[in-house]
Symmetry: D2
Subunit: 153 residues, 4 copies
């Protein structure tokens, strides 16, 4: 799949996902249990220390998590349920800075019944390094997400 701007044509959960749209997320790869996304760190994503706000790193990784959890093409029996984050353990390993390009790679680790466990790794690279999925830069955070599948309202 070519680099695609985030939209409902890419994945049904991206329809009306205003937060991901605001972040300017691009989808690099998408398959069952997997997603790779990318965005550039802008000024509004910084904290008072001049580093990327942990919450923005989290929000970015959380979008990769949601994409990996929910099927791109829901099967007939799956259209009335959604999979959401029940909880997350995140470890911040290194800071990231304005203008850097960050990449999140989400993968399912296990799944049983309505519960799943996903690992999302977040990498940062300088913009002029033109990062690609094969070499997304330095590992800056490890996000482990716990999912729950619930009935759609």
């Amino acid at each position: 799949m070519a680099e695609a701007t985030l939209s409902g044509a890419i994945h049904p959960i991206l329809e009306n996902d205003y937060a991901s749209e605001w972040m300017g997320i691009k989808v690099l790869a998408l398959s069952d249990g997997h997603a790779t996304i990318r965005m550039t760190l802008r000024q509004e994503m910084l904290n008072g220390f001049g580093m990327a706000h942990g919450g923005m790193i989290f929000a970015f990784a959380d979008t990769a998590f949601a994409l990996a959890c929910n099927p791109v093409n829901p099967a007939p029996g799956e259209t009335d349920s959604i999979t959401v984050a029940a909880g997350v353990d995140i470890n911040f390993l290194k800071p990231a800075y304005r203008g850097q390009v960050i990449t999140a790679v989400a993968d399912r680790r296990s799944s049983a019944g309505r519960s799943g466990l996903y690992d999302i790794q977040i990498f940062a690279a300088d913009a002029d390094a033109q990062p690609d999925p094969q070499n997304p830069g330095e590992l800056i955070a490890e996000f482990r997400g716990r999912s729950r599948t619930i009935p759609k309202k």
Copy 2:
């Protein structure tokens, strides 16, 4: 302390904290090891399910965490270090919706050397319920933050 719009006059770490400014966070209370903040959930904070994006709940709580971790008036020996998030475990208990007012209450649980542990509870209430710190609404998430104090660059 009266309800105050987020600014560097309130706390030094809020100077140039563009992410918190973008969120429209207000500071309700602030003291050593403690902070209470509030914001209203806007459209750009929603995910594709029409609920508050987990990343936005996290980013909001993370600001309360940073305020509780760092002294309002640093002592002479504290001006050359900052306290940042090393990691977080968050549990999402209930969804929150557009227009709701959410409140985060951060408290230090323990601190030893350069490490600390903080609990941040996040509550949601309907806007017309005029939530106050004494009754901030329903508990929607529990955030446990691990802090590290590091030299300022």
Copy 3:
């Protein structure tokens, strides 16, 4: 309730709980969503650094968690399900040593449907300090448990 040696007369889940029996756990208090327990750190609970093995601190806290999660007197509709640990985030704050008396205090933080969140604090005191529930000693670890209620096999 007086200090009681762990047994099935105290709580149905303690019947045949060989691990808790091996640890020599005593139950100090027990009510819906709450448990306080105590044990003495023995040689078999130490790691190669001469400190309590983290796994033993965890196992001890996990028993308090199980006691707080499961009703002492199950209601008619509750006898065919059990509540187990789905996951835990634990932070080790201080070491504990052989001969110290450790106390775990478990409390429910929230509960919705089949999921619950419990906090267990673990304290250590020297044996001759004769710790009591009102003053169980120094906080050595914070355990946050995520529970799931499942059908009994």
Copy 4:
């Protein structure tokens, strides 16, 4: 390395590690940042539900974590420090039962300064299935450990 009963000859941190000795842990593989260990679930490791006590699964994984964190042959500058668990996030995916053989595989994910992050996967297999490191059975738990290197007392 051939299957070896846990002892100080295998790794210095195992000297006087009474907890691991009590568990009957065997070391299958050991190298910088990595360890694979195995044990059989005995009656004293069960909870009141007849399943392996979560605390015993944790204690077992915690030993693999300690082995992966600490060098087998400390360099001259490393002999006066030890690496311990600062915290852990564990997810219990499936129950394990008496008589099953469980295997823990520990690997370093990242390391910076005095902090490290390690993933330990725990697998279970029936005893007559004669599990080997290449096929250790079903994944029953995921343990993510946060380490801190501290001065030796």
